[in-house]
């Protein structure tokens, strides 16, 4: 399929922008960077409508020879799973640039260049169809992120930056070995689609799964490998935190979905109990840790661990609800947590503290700010009518089909999420302010409004009409499931739990659709 090289343009434009910010004069750096990010967003938007929702195949595919002597090609493509993630990235980037407008004081050029290089690499990761190309993009974002944390970060930034780098690098080098092993086992090709069709022996799948796991679990981050996340989040500048939470973590779950499941279906099934256990531990442990935090960024960081636990839980259910819920939740977490980090960034600019104790009772001085904070928090805890409810609900339905006990444990996470988020909101928004500690704070200005309003809109749009996203990903997700459970084996012994109950997505959404809108109304009426 040849056509307009949409994806190459999407990847190359920010890279060109990164060079451009060095060419323009001091005053127009920010404007240039913003223009590039907005242009990238505008290029990505038509894809949403041009995308053929009835097909699970890769679309907008571009292919060129890159290093023929090592059979490495330049191949990009989009399917229903990567499309929402790419759009999420392009939507978030202009916001990241806007939020850094005044908060970055040194080396503005390099900062903007780093952000744009990150954008390039992130879009590349979600669209790459060649394994080496994927790995190049995957690794290429390490250095910009390292510099973002290390140069523009908080007081303990050196430690956080090197910890982030070493953790993720250690995970991904094993991925490289796995890629090379797959190359020789899968017919000397790095083509992701072709490798996803191959069959590999059980023992090989076992080892490859572990290697993939090392890379993706660190990135997600799953429970025992999560310790870099709170450090990195706390020290990173706001834009860095947003990118980390919203996009980088998704690359881990995207990796599981794009590679582990279709390429290693047997091992994925064999490892399901482990993955489910780790997910549930992450859900509950992350939530408990969030309860104990006094630092806003740390609180959100641990809530990310908990929320990403839901995503990995959904992925390893191997049913349509679980996986579609997981992809939904990847997007939702990106929007909601991105929004929360933007909120923290705004308050940090004003009070220079991220401690909850220093930011009590903001409703009085900053009513608009408090409204946004409440909306993002409610979305994060999965209030019906907001986006996260759709994702978490679908994941839990998927999990329910697999194991009721696991679902019960996962539900604990939702209760705890309500606890830590509402408690935080209670203090930060509605607490009794110490008159000495809160000098006159100016409320959210127009630039900051522009930064958060798109996310608020998305929260409700997705919360009320999730169907456009679901229909686009449906064929692609079915394709992944067909790899794990080949259609011929549908009635084999591995499936009994699922065969009697396979409601289609349409049924779920049509059942719950009306309820969403009603509850949204009540929710928005009840909001202060």
């Amino acid at each position: 399929m040849t056509g307009f090289p949409w994806l190459t343009l999407l990847v190359v434009l920010p890279l060109a922008g990164a060079l451009a910010v060095f060419a323009v004069n001091e005053r127009s750096i920010k404007v240039t960077a913003l223009a590039v990010a907005v242009a990238d967003l505008l290029i990505s938007l038509p894809l949403w409508w041009l995308f053929d929702a009835s097909s699970g195949e890769m679309q907008f595919v571009e292919s060129a020879r890159w290093i023929p002597s090592l059979s490495i090609n330049y191949r990009l493509g989009l399917d229903g799973i990567s499309l929402p993630l790419v759009l999420m990235t392009t939507v978030l980037m202009p916001l990241c640039i806007l939020i850094s407008w005044h908060s970055i004081e040194i080396r503005m050029q390099s900062f903007m260049a780093m952000l744009l290089i990150m954008e390039s690499a992130m879009i590349g990761v979600f669209t790459a169809l060649d394994f080496v190309l994927f790995y190049v993009f995957w690794e290429a974002m390490l250095i910009p992120m390292y510099l973002l944390i290390g140069i523009w970060g908080g007081p303990n930034r050196l430690y956080a930056a090197i910890k982030f780098l070493l953790y993720t690098l250690a995970g991904s080098v094993l991925l490289l070995v796995a890629i090379l092993v797959l190359y020789f086992q899968g017919g000397q090709t790095f083509d992701i689609l072709q490798l996803s069709q191959g069959t590999y022996s059980h023992s090989l799948q076992f080892w490859l799964f572990l290697a993939f796991f090392a890379a993706f679990a660190v990135k997600v981050p799953m429970f025992p490998f999560h310790t870099w996340l709170p450090d990195a989040h706390v020290e990173a500048p706001t834009a860095g935190s947003v990118i980390l939470a919203s996009v980088l973590l998704k690359m881990g779950t995207y990796g599981f979905l794009r590679f582990s499941l279709p390429m290693l279906p047997d091992a994925s099934q064999a490892f399901t109990p482990v993955m489910v256990a780790l997910s549930i531990v992450a859900i509950i442990y992350g939530a408990y840790m969030a309860l104990a935090q006094s630092d806003l960024k740390k609180l959100i960081a641990y809530s990310s661990v908990s929320h990403m636990g839901f995503v990995t839980l959904g992925l390893f259910m191997f049913n349509i609800q679980g996986i579609e819920g997981a992809v939904m939740q990847m997007v939702n977490h990106g929007i909601t947590t991105g929004g929360l980090f933007l909120c923290v960034g705004m308050i940090y600019e004003r009070t220079h503290s991220r401690q909850i104790a220093d930011n009590i009772g903001l409703t009085k001085p900053m009513p608009r700010y408090a409204t946004f904070l409440v909306i993002f928090s409610l979305s994060s805890l999965g209030l019906p009518g907001t986006n996260s409810f759709v994702g978490e609900f679908m994941i839990l339905v998927g999990a329910f089909l697999w194991s009721k006990i696991a679902t019960a444990f996962a539900l604990l996470g939702i209760i705890l999420a309500a606890a830590y988020l509402l408690w935080m909101v209670q203090r930060v928004a509605f607490g009794v302010p110490d008159p000495h500690m809160l000098p006159k704070l100016r409320d959210v200005n127009l630039r900051e409004m522009i930064t958060v309003v798109p996310l608020v809109v998305l929260i409700f749009v997705i919360g009320i009409f999730p169907n456009p996203i679901l229909t686009r990903m449906h064929p692609s997700v079915e394709k992944v499931i067909a790899r794990v459970f080949p259609p011929a084996a549908e009635h084999a012994s591995v499936m009994p739990r699922m065969t009697p109950f396979t409601p289609s997505v349409e049924r779920i959404t049509s059942q719950t659709g009306p309820t969403f809108s009603q509850e949204t109304q009540t929710a928005s009426e009840g909001r202060p």
Binding site: E139, G150, I151, L165, L176, L180
Partner: protein, 489 residues
Amino acid sequence: MMPFSSADLFLILPELLIVTAACIVFVLDPVLRTSNKDGLVWLSLGTLAVCMGLTASQIQAPATIFSGLVVIDAYGAFWKLLLYFVTGLTILLSHSYLKEERLYFGEYYGFVLLSLVGMMVMVSSSDLLTLYLGTELMSLSLYVMAGLKRSEPRSLEASAKYFVLGAFSSGILLYGISLLYGATGSTRLPEIAAAISGRNLDDPLLLFATILLTVGFGFKLAVVPFHMWTPDVYQGAPTSVTAFMAVAAKAASFGAFLRVFIEGLGGLKANWSAMFLILCLATLILGNVLALVQTNVKRMLAYSSIAHAGYALIGVVATGHMGNSSGIASVLLYLSLYAFMTFGAFAIVAMLRKGGIEGDNIEDFTGLAKRHPVAALLMLIFMVSLAGIPPTAGFIGKLYVFMSAVEAGLPWLAAVALIFAVISAYYYLRLVMVMYMREPSDLSSTSPRMVMSPSLSIVLACAVAGVVIFGIYPNPLVNFAIQAVSALK
């Protein structure tokens, strides 16, 4: 007297031209006035450019000359082109560096050229004695160059240490050659190979000869446990010489070493590949771990160059293990890409001044990003590339080496090597951290200063272009490496 024709002489014209240029440099140096000595630099560079053209034309026409003592083929041409390039960069770097260090020795360029001839003989010899001559010519020139900073004890120490250990290793190499001659009755690689193919491979004489050759080459390649001289010599020698040793001498030694072990001792693959596996692991582990604790950049880069020899050895082990030629091709690719990033890094160290003297401590890089953003950015690129992070040349080199290891059924070796690559990222990025994330103190005398000059700019531009362009589009170089290896018998 061995018969040879004038055609033979024409085929070694590059070597002859460079020797001639070296002699002219030696003769003219005392005659010329100081202000005219730049002419020697241009003469050397011009000779290299001519030789580059001559060697490039020899790629397609393999020939064995001087009754089988020397062979002209694509394999030799690959190394020679790399060596011309590195030598050219060395001369350009030295042009600025020697001025800054107030070392006015015209002979310097002569020794660089003579050393280059030695290297060229090494990579194109198909006879062990020719090879030995080349090795000695290279080493003797390097001994002199290492001690060029006569006023500095460290430089003299480096020279003496290098000389003693180098002479020792040459002796071992020669001993290995003589034993091999005893076992096979020849010093020519094809005849040695033929003699080995009909022999019992467990012959202790053969094995002992192989071990001695390995030790001899091990010193030149600076693989663990024969690496002891490297950090001291690299630190003490003038930095331009260090760069030359770390890149050109290593490349030439690898070139000769691979030809001997593939063309001559290919029949003993099963024996030597096990030995190299151990050397390779030891080199990877010790090189990377010891680099972690260095506070001097030159020492750190010395250990890093040891570690990189370990990565290159993976390709050798892979070929020895399964006989696939991609292992050797990956070594060629690796070392040529390594040349760009290592040379670039040394060039920056050479020109970084701190209070008038060379700033070669890691701390001396503090705040370089503020004062010289371009130099810091270039160093960042070299460090990232040395750590093997894409999209840089270092990644492509590692990718190909690990591909050959996995192809040979050694995925665990690739995994171990990659884990040590993560460790290496720590010390490479520590330099980045110092440059970018530490604030320089206010005292202007303690903050680093880069001495920029046109010739240095050319060097850095070439190095960074290689790192970036081959990191994104390595295809031509990969193809050339594969073509070069196919010329090995």
